[in-house]
């Protein structure tokens, strides 16, 4: 009975939009392996999205929520100086926050942010999401990869 009630409740709450299965729409192919990498680090991925789809790479942070535009970022930061400009956020604004956009299926990190911690090796985590033609994130699809580089090696 409880299960029936739960299912009924869930059915009324838009259960259909939640994804229980991965779509494999983005699959990261590089960097592979668990060894320590060196700069530059090339990231490559395969995608089932049509060519020209814009991908957003979030380094060491969570991506924007589903169905949000990139303006979510300055909104979250309450950056009114950016929000008053129609073109904001632009690439340089995002890059300063370690967010990168590309329409290709690869991206090369020639520099990486200096790690806040004092560990000899820094663990970076990269999450890739796709934007639809309306500039909003497509569903909950994401792909994540971790890679390690020596902390001293920032490329700067």
């Amino acid at each position: 009975m409880l299960l029936a009630v739960s299912c009924a409740l869930l059915a009324g709450c838009g259960v259909g939009t939640a994804a229980l299965r991965q779509t494999q729409a983005i699959t990261i192919t590089a960097p592979a392996g668990t060894g320590i990498k060196e700069l530059p680090v090339a990231v490559r991925w395969a995608s089932t999205y049509p060519a020209g789809t814009e991908f957003v790479l979030f380094l060491d942070q969570a991506p924007i929520p589903p169905d949000q535009e990139l303006r979510y970022v300055p909104q979250l930061l309450h950056d009114t100086s950016c929000l008053i400009q129609p073109s904001c956020p632009d690439a340089s604004y995002l890059n300063n926050l370690n967010i990168y956009t590309t329409t290709k299926t690869s991206f090369v990190f020639s520099t990486l942010p200096i790690s806040a911690n004092r560990d000899p090796v820094t663990l970076h985590e990269l999450t890739i999401v796709a934007l639809g033609s309306d500039g909003r994130r497509i569903g909950e699809v994401s792909a994540t990869v971790s890679f390690r580089i020596p902390t001293a090696d920032t490329g700067l």
Binding site: L2, V15, A62, P65, P66, R118, R148
Partner: protein, 757 residues
């Protein structure tokens, strides 16, 4: 009080608590709990494990699933692993709230069925997880899930641990707790395996994992059925009460009227010395939980290049090894007097875990690091039964739910302190340093706990003594026997680390006037503070009409009819005389007309005050201020009046007049405990007197008899502190109102046996 059955009651208590009989005679006509021979109630154990499946799901599952959820719905909290930390902090805060709310509910509804509460909590929790797997689409919904889940965690732990303690006799509790925690480790390992699978390249999302875990929780809750709540003290207090009733042939007595409030109960539980050691170990466990995400996320991933799935898998294996170790630990043969040793072993296990943790985070060898991770996690789990069981034997059965809430609070404190501590050190000095700091903190707690393990047995014996006394009082009450108005049993009192009362026992009957005599610093005023609630004893029990009021707030005691005239000039100086009296009247919530009438009665008695009714109290003479203090007591019309040093600094003629008033108050039916240094004054007024020296009661007897015994007076007042106990006059009586006369382990002096004749 009829005390003839107390040795038997103590024997029953020792048997129920699985302790060596300590020379007590076997209980006649009573038997230990019938199920003590083997591990009983396996069904209960399985049910409790099934109803606790949510605990590893919430604590381990959600913690390790956080990166998946974050990448999916874009939880933008802060960079890197602070997502985990913040989540754990939310859970911990709400965990404490849930635990305290549960303890409060069981105080408010003392007859509440904990088994039913637990089952509903498990079902709600499972539905929360099932719903969360679909509905969590934005950050605040995730936070809501974490918060509500945290509250369910607090409720669940509090109820499960208290039910576990009530369902098994003391002798079998270590085994039951071992196997319960083994069950939890097993479910924790399975949960982590599910998360590890999800974190690997798979076709399933975190939502499917949460759904599976939520449905599993729901099925477990449904399959577990209802756990029967055996009732408070089913394995000990109820057994002793039944034995007392058998002795007197009476029916069960009504419940204790002056039950402690929520915070008074916490205070009572915390006053038990060995509980602090248990709490320290649970705080250390919280540190380990906080440390595990650090270990998994950083040490395994950044140092050895594990994927998140691999790190989670390593944790799962460590948890399953802990399950096996706990299962084997539970196979040990139950034995008496083992809890202190178990607590010590728990402290050592925590210490070993802390060292393994620090070394594991520093080594460069992968196999060694993984083995040490398993050792750390196993040791953390292995410490739990030994650290938990004493809480449920050394505290009064009515405080067991609060004891469980305290344990959970200990874990939460460890998590709350460990997360920010680790992050602060990680940012400044690196991950290895952060791990070592957490390990050192856990090791420090374990070392601190090792100092207290030998107190468990003493604390348990004290608990048995209290229960025996309660059982006897309940039986006497049911049989219509006279119950003393006030008893202090084995009262210890400390100011910080300085103990000033040692195993003190006094008894005051209804309408009696009793003097507490002794030199300065003997502990007389401190004993009054313990009776009035201005201070709380570190051990022992204060009973008022048979009810335990040891940790009752002073305001509640006033309501029960206990009032104190403190030493010195106990008046509100800036207030007028009449306002001083009115304040006391309002404290009982009486109507103004009634208070005015009482005030006029006071003025009739103290005509000197009548003339100064509108004068500030500070301008009164010393004698007048004492009159006013007594007048306040008359307003309250207490059943028990405690008077501290009435004659201090007053002329003899004034003192004489005041004492006549005290006599009148006593003649009107109020029992009086009079603290005096002036022996002549006191003994001409009171029925009985107690002599105190160095925080102990040396002698008691009828006032007339004591007046005739110059040798006693000389020994106490003239020889004073230099008096040799062995040289004390023969015929003094050990005064202890408790049911058994058991000696306090902390008492520094031998006591003289015999009775003043």
């Amino acid at each position: 009080m009829d005390t003839k059955g107390q040795p038997d009651l103590m024997a029953v208590g020792y048997q129920a608590y699985g302790l060596a009989a300590d020379g007590a005679a076997p209980a006649s006509g009573t038997s230990p709990p019938a199920r003590i021979a083997g591990l009983p109630s396996r069904g209960v154990l399985v049910r409790l494990v099934l109803l606790s499946v949510g605990q590893p799901v919430q604590l381990l599952g959600l913690m390790m699933m956080a990166p998946l959820i974050s990448a999916s719905i874009g939880v933008w909290l802060r960079y890197d692993a602070s997502i985990f930390g913040v989540q754990l902090e939310y859970e911990s805060v709400l965990g404490v709230v849930g635990a305290i709310a549960t303890a409060a509910a069981t105080v408010r509804w003392s007859q509440a069925d904990r088994g039913r509460m637990l089952r509903w909590a498990a079902i709600v929790w499972a539905l929360l997880m099932v719903a969360g797997s679909f509905l969590v689409t934005v950050q605040w919904l995730l936070i809501g899930l974490v918060l509500l889940g945290g509250a369910c965690w607090g409720v669940s732990v509090t109820l499960v641990l208290s039910l576990l303690a009530e369902s098994f006799p003391a002798e079998l509790r270590p085994r039951a707790f071992c196997w319960f925690f083994a069950g939890q480790a097993l479910t924790g390992g399975i949960v982590l395996l599910v998360v590890a699978y999800l974190a690997s390249p798979t076709q399933w999302t975190w939502r499917s994992g949460l759904l599976v875990l939520g449905v599993a929780m729901l099925l477990a809750a449904v399959c577990a059925g209802r756990v029967r709540d055996p009732g408070v003290g089913a394995q000990d207090a109820q057994v002793m009460a039944a034995a007392a009733r058998n002795e007197t042939g009476t029916a069960p007595a009504p419940a204790d009227a002056a039950s402690a409030s929520l915070w008074e109960g916490f205070r009572q539980a915390l006053s038990v010395g060995s509980i602090s050691a248990c709490l320290q170990l649970f705080v250390a466990f919280g540190l380990f939980i906080a440390a595990m995400q650090l270990y998994a996320a950083y040490v395994l991933q950044y140092r050895f290049g594990f994927t998140p799935a691999g790190a989670t898998l390593a944790l799962a294996i460590g948890t399953l090894i802990a399950c096996v170790a706990l299962g084997l630990l539970g196979l040990r043969r139950p034995g008496p007097d083992r809890q202190g040793a178990d607590l010590r072993a728990a402290g050592l296990a925590t210490l070993v875990g802390a060292v393994a943790f620090a070394v594991g985070a520093s080594v460069s060898s992968l196999p060694v690091a993984v083995v040490l991770l398993a050792v750390t996690w196993s040791c953390a789990y292995l410490a739990l039964p030994g650290a938990a069981v004493p809480v449920f034997t050394a505290v009064h059965p009515q405080q067991r739910v609060r004891g469980a809430a305290l344990l959970l609070s200990g874990v939460c404190i460890g998590v709350l302190a460990g997360g920010p501590l680790a992050q602060a050190f990680q940012a400044r000095f690196g991950t290895t340093c952060a791990v070592i700091v957490l390990a050192v903190a856990a090791a420090g707690l374990s070392v601190a706990s090792l100092r207290h393990h030998d107190r468990v047995e003493d604390d348990t014996k004290k608990a048995i003594t209290v229960l025996a006394s309660e059982a006897q009082y309940a039986a006497d009450r049911a049989s219509g026997a006279t119950i003393p108005l006030l008893t202090c049993e084995h009262v210890d009192f400390s100011y910080g680390s300085l103990q000033v009362l040692f195993d003190v026992g006094i008894r005051v009957d209804d309408g009696e006037m009793v003097a507490l005599l002794g030199t300065n610093g003997a502990g007389k005023s401190t004993l009054l503070r313990a009776i009035s609630g201005l201070g709380y004893p570190s051990g022992g029990v204060v009973r008022y009409r048979g009810s335990d009021i040891t940790y009752l707030a002073p305001t509640s005691r006033v309501g029960l009819g206990i009032s104190q005239v403190p030493g010195g000039r106990a008046v509100f100086g800036p207030l007028s005389v009449v306002d001083n009296l009115r304040v006391y009247g309002y404290s009982l919530g009486r109507k103004r007309s009634v208070i005015d009438q009482k005030i006029e009665e006071v003025f009739d008695t103290f005509s000197q005050l009548q003339a100064r009714r509108n004068q500030p109290a500070a301008t009164l003479s010393g004698g007048e201020q004492q009159m006013l203090a007594l007048g306040k007591a008359m307003i309250l019309r207490p059943r028990l009046l405690l008077i501290d040093e009435l004659s201090l600094g007053l002329a003899p003629i004034v003192t004489g007049a005041l004492l006549q008033i005290v006599r009148k108050i006593n003649e009107s039916g109020t029992a009086v405990v009079l603290v005096e240094q002036s022996v002549d004054i006191a003994l001409t007024l009171v029925h009985r007197a107690y002599f105190m020296e160095k925080g102990q009661i040396r002698f008691d007897g009828a006032a007339a008899d004591l007046l005739a015994r110059d040798d006693i007076l000389r020994a106490v007042f003239f020889v004073g502190e230099g008096a040799d106990t062995n040289g004390s006059p023969a015929g003094g009586r050990v005064v202890n109102a408790g049911p058994d006369g058991a000696e306090s382990a902390t008492a520094p002096h031998d006591r003289t046996e015999g009775r003043l004749s």
